[in-house]
């Protein structure tokens, strides 16, 4: 058991900034991540010995290296390859590491576990070859692979252009970019996006690359189905209105072997939920978000939640919110004089408020469109782990399920190994139609394990012969 002043779970821009700020203020900090190097989703480094060729390195690679160098040069105790599966008390953190099972304790805990992807189910979405849009960035950035020979890139938000441009640059073919938003939606977002000229320029660069490669961009369209048996063969798309309702316009088909699709990001606030912190439903933040003060303090004493794991806003807000929580933890531990805290936290908070202008515009493009969920067919699978269809969910609601955990017990939806991360948003949106609101529908009760861990890793390697058996007492 390793005691510290502060444990940070998640080493993306949010967690790394929290750890560094607290460590600089004098706290002894343990930083845990299941990845082998800090960086999180945006700055995920390829695992050694895979590496980006020097000529191909971009701004994100440099920013990621700077983050990793800052952690390495600090007093932060970095523990990579540590998958946190349980947190109890205030606070004992259990993780599976290369060394087996390890526990860490500290009176303060920063949850910085990042977001996961929202995907509204459609016929064929479970077919191999259909992957997440954010998931595609992992293949492209940290594995140096293009997902398929020919790919449709679909969904919403800036990752569309980012993924499509990286596929083209990597030598793959993009059959089409299929965007839920229309040119008007992007135009409306422009003034707020102009608050970050660097990111706007990056986005325009992607658009130009797609234009030069003559990739068709279908605005206000969505994927209505994937066909193919063992793997994706054909993707069908059709026009929609601003809310994602089919307009009845002409549909089109693309013969492709891969579909990268995502409908936005949802905060992965499993740790605050597990520790029973208060939450509120905030569509503008991606979904349920822990109730926090301006510095990231949750309703549970000693717990802080930061980054996209608390409220989806992107990398720079994640970094600033992490920095604020690190300062707050140091202040709460009595290590940071009030005037220093006020000065440093004040500056970070002002920068965060500024960065949230850009994030707000992006979040609007990536917002959930409940009309798409309403239109899901009765026979479409909602819960991939347990193969629970929409019809079964509606039947359970008709039979009296009034809250999401009840729905889970009626149908097994959300009971499988992904613990409801893939189906939770859809199931809750379906239930909310009947019980009045997402608040009334509630959220899955947080339970360990946070991430599944093989039993063998918890028990360690042993043989029967190694189990000590006391010699029987003489008769």
């Amino acid at each position: 058991m390793t005691p510290a002043d502060l444990i940070v779970v998640g080493a993306g821009p949010a967690g790394a900034a929290a750890a560094l700020a607290a460590s600089e203020a004098g706290l002894q900090v343990v930083l845990l991540d299941e990845a082998f190097a800090p960086g999180g989703q945006i700055y995920r480094a390829p695992p050694q010995p895979l590496s980006v060729a020097p000529t191909a390195r971009g701004a994100d690679d440099a920013a990621g290296d700077a983050l990793r160098a800052a952690v390495a040069a600090s007093a932060v105790v970095w523990t990579g390859g540590a998958r946190v599966w349980s947190i109890s008390g205030a606070f004992r953190v259990d993780a599976v590491t290369a060394a087996g099972s390890e526990s860490f304790t500290a009176p303060r805990l920063v949850a910085a576990t990042g977001a996961h992807e929202r995907l509204v189910p459609f016929p064929g979405w479970t077919t191999p070859g259909v992957i997440g849009l954010a998931a595609a960035t992992i293949l492209l950035k940290s594995q140096g692979m293009v997902p398929g020979r020919r790919t449709v890139v679909a969904g919403c938000g800036p990752l569309l252009a980012a993924v499509a441009a990286k596929i083209v640059a990597g030598g793959g073919e993009v059959a089409a970019v299929v965007d839920l938003a229309g040119p008007g939606d992007w135009l409306k977002a422009l003034p707020r996006m102009a608050s970050r000229p660097d990111l706007l320029r990056q986005g325009l660069g992607w658009a130009l690359k797609l234009g030069a490669a003559r990739v068709p961009v279908l605005f206000r369209h969505m994927v209505t189905g994937v066909s193919g048996g063992e793997t994706c063969e054909t993707v069908t798309v059709a026009p929609v209105d601003a809310e994602g309702r089919l307009t009845g316009g002409r549909s089109r088909m693309f013969d492709v072997d891969a579909l990268a699709i995502g409908h936005g990001l949802v905060p992965g606030c499993e740790i605050p939920k597990l520790l029973r912190a208060a939450h509120r439903f905030a569509p503008e933040a991606g979904g349920w978000t822990p109730v926090r003060d301006a510095f990231g303090r949750c309703s549970v004493a000693g717990l802080y939640a930061v980054g996209d794991g608390a409220a989806v806003a992107g990398a720079e807000p994640a970094r600033l919110s992490g920095c604020l929580a690190g300062l707050a933890a140091a202040q709460d531990a009595g290590r940071l004089p009030a005037d220093v805290f006020a000065r440093e936290a004040g500056a970070a908070r002002a920068a965060l408020d500024k960065a949230l202008v850009f994030a707000g515009a992006i979040n609007r493009l990536m917002r959930a469109r409940p009309a798409m969920v309403e239109a899901i067919a009765a026979e479409t699978v909602i819960c991939r782990c347990e193969d629970v269809r929409r019809g079964e969910i509606e039947a359970a609601i008709a039979a009296g399920a009034r809250e999401i955990n009840q729905l889970k017990h009626f149908t097994r939806c959300g009971m499988g190994p992904c613990q409801g991360r893939m189906c939770g948003e859809t199931a809750a949106t379906l239930l909310a139609r009947h019980v009045g609101s997402r608040e009334a529908a509630g959220y899955w009760t947080g339970r360990p394990p946070l991430r599944p861990v093989p039993l063998a890793d918890l028990l360690g390697q042993f043989d029967y012969a190694d189990i000590p058996v006391p010699t029987p007492a003489p008769l």
Binding site: E34, Q41, P46, P47, Q48, P49, L50, S51, V52, A53, T55, A56, R83, H116, E117, T126, T127, P128, G129, V130, I131, G132, A134, A135, I138, L139, Q143, G144, M145, V146, P147, G148, R149, A169, G170, G171, G172, G229, E230, T231, C232, D257, A258, V381, R384, C385, E386, D387, G416, P417, C418, R421, M422, R451, P452, P454, A456
Partner: protein, 95 residues
């Protein structure tokens, strides 16, 4: 679905050989098992337990569990397993 290894923009580790369903599959150190299987054209990794419908890697970040396979006899998330020379992989995982 067959993933393409980018040629000029990435430097790859040494070649390793895996045995997948009795077949030899080449990969490079630094790759995850899920990515290496995709590059070998193996998109279908398992079947869902209730409907027996084909499934493959979906999130690549350890969340969805769709990429579970047997590695040297043990169920593992292939997107979280680095390839190593001599791994024996069976595509019949289920949690």
């Amino acid at each position: 679905m067959t993933a393409l290894r980018m040629k000029d923009t990435f430097r790859r580790g040494d070649a390793v050989t895996l045995t997948v369903e009795g077949r030899c599959v080449m990969a490079h150190r630094g790759e995850t098992l899920a990515a290496a299987l995709l590059a070998a054209g193996m998109a279908r990794l398992r079947h869902s337990p209730r409907d027996f419908s084909p499934r493959g890697a979906y999130c690549f970040m350890g969340v969805c569990q769709e990429c579970v396979v047997r590695v040297d006899g043990v169920l593992r998330q292939s997107c979280q397993v680095p390839v190593e020379d001599g791994l024996v992989v069976e595509l019949k995982g289920s949690l």
